[in-house]
Amino acid sequence: MPDLTISREVVIEAPVDVVWRTITEPGQMSEWFADRVDLVIEPGAHGYMQFGDQGGPVVVEVVDPPARFSFRWNHPLGEEPAVGNSMLVEFTLTPEGDERTRLRVVESGHELRDWPDAEKQRYADEHSGGWIEFTDRLATLLAKRQPE
């Protein structure tokens, strides 16, 4: 369900399997993500990520090499992560030829947690494009705001 979703993309001049290893090997993850990554890349595996003096649990959802990898994080300690109490991070890798890969990351779950379903659906319908445009629109509105 699209919601308050962050969606970003990058084109990498490397084959898809190299990109896959970069984003899924715990040793490499610590190069671009957390300071320390204790994680087995298997669906359902529980792990931990350390950021400076903070850290939190992570649970792997989808492992589909070399195309899809996702995990949930930012759920309350002691709770099982699920829709509604955590953020879902999804990586999608698309090869563009032998030496180029398009990598997309989508982070979702920032939405209000106790919306009624009808409300969620309406929101999803209206905002399949994500919320970045809302930020832009806000900025535009702020810029042309009448002095009070």
Binding site: R8, V18, L103, L141
Partner: protein, 123 residues
Amino acid sequence: MTTHIDDGLWSAIADPSRRQVLDLIVSNGGVSASWLAGRVPFSRQAVSKHLAVLERAGLIRRRKQGREVLYQIDAVRLDQAARSMAELAAQWDRRLVAIKRIAEAAHTQNKRRERHDEHAPGR
């Protein structure tokens, strides 16, 4: 772990109906609840509820003009909301750039190694 955004702010701007109300207030300055109710596809009661949430989140303020209560945005808080959201996206941009750098360096190294192996004696 990620940029901290207080829940009140998220909840307030996550709801599309509230964003519609917020948009109308931003574009039109001080407006009353009944003026808003005439411009949205939901009830006056719903407008009041949305206004209360927006006010609690600090995104709008009310002021009295004669017998009317007018709502206007709190620009500082709205700026802060926009910045918080942009910062979350920027965080992922930085991570993607790092992934790109690492993967491309690994690829360059792999190619160099392959070339080296091709020229190595005994192959």
